[in-house]
Symmetry: C2
Subunit: 158 residues, 2 copies
């Protein structure tokens, strides 16, 4: 079980967009991160559909964040890219075999699925506690306050 690579790209792009004064095209974000343009565009479209970013068409178009960095969470981004399907999916095998339970009595989710969902909920809660602003602060601290400033400068010199 592995999270799609698009999640990492999306996180990096959202961090970058916090330092942009104008819309940033997908090609420019791809150049900045050294990833294939066409595939990154797909992830950005997913973010756009989820309402995390807003797309502006036309010659001076590109992508812009729809909310302040402190209001965007890692959970939103993960859900946007991966979908909100549960990590553990109960396939109701309790209804199979010689001891199969009557399907009519399976309106309630089974005990195993409930337990796994509880653990998954803990993960989602933790993801919801991570904001883009937190990531920006962390990256800035790691680089002795040079990375974010350099990023803003690079984005400005179109």
């Amino acid at each position: 079980m592995r999270l799609s690579q698009g999640v990492e790209w999306a996180l990096h792009c959202c961090v970058s967009l916090t330092q942009a004064a104008e819309p940033v095209p997908a090609a420019r974000l791809a150049e900045l991160h050294g990833v294939p343009t066409a595939y990154l565009a797909k992830q950005l479209q997913a973010l756009s559909r989820a309402g995390v970013i807003h797309s502006i068409p036309g010659q001076m178009g590109g992508y812009v964040l729809t909310q302040p960095p402190s209001a965007i969470t890692a959970l939103q981004i993960v859900v946007a890219i991966e979908g909100d399907v549960p990590v553990f999916q109960c396939t109701e095998i309790r209804q199979n075999g010689p001891l199969g339970v009557d399907p009519a009595k399976c309106s309630k989710r089974c005990a195993i699925a409930r337990a796994m969902a509880t653990a998954e909920h803990a993960w989602r809660e933790a993801l919801a506690e991570i904001s883009i602003a937190d990531l920006v602060a962390g990256i800035d601290a790691d680089s002795s306050n040079t990375a974010i400033d350099g990023l803003r400068r690079w984005l400005a010199t179109g």
Copy 2:
């Protein structure tokens, strides 16, 4: 991102094995749960390699739990089937592009990976709190204390 189906099978098998007095062959577990025998065998082998269950070869052979049900956690089973690779994998794209960071300065894990690892840790901690005994108790309660008894009886009548 979706957890492999083998995890559900493994959980159900461990629950079933708690009610067995003798080793249970893979074919019998497959029949009980109505799943393909050959593929289930693969999952059981993974559990065996991880030390969750013990395999006994020979004519009266089969699988047995290595620990009491209260000592086996859902985390052990998930790791056994899926491997202990992290859900979020940092591919170090911060080293790419025109603003790429010097690889020599990347000995420390990046801020994004750290944040995602924290969330993942919360999930693992929650999984470690789930024991097979808990699942048995939950299933028993859901069935008005009939399912586990029926299971033990079915396993005894080889």
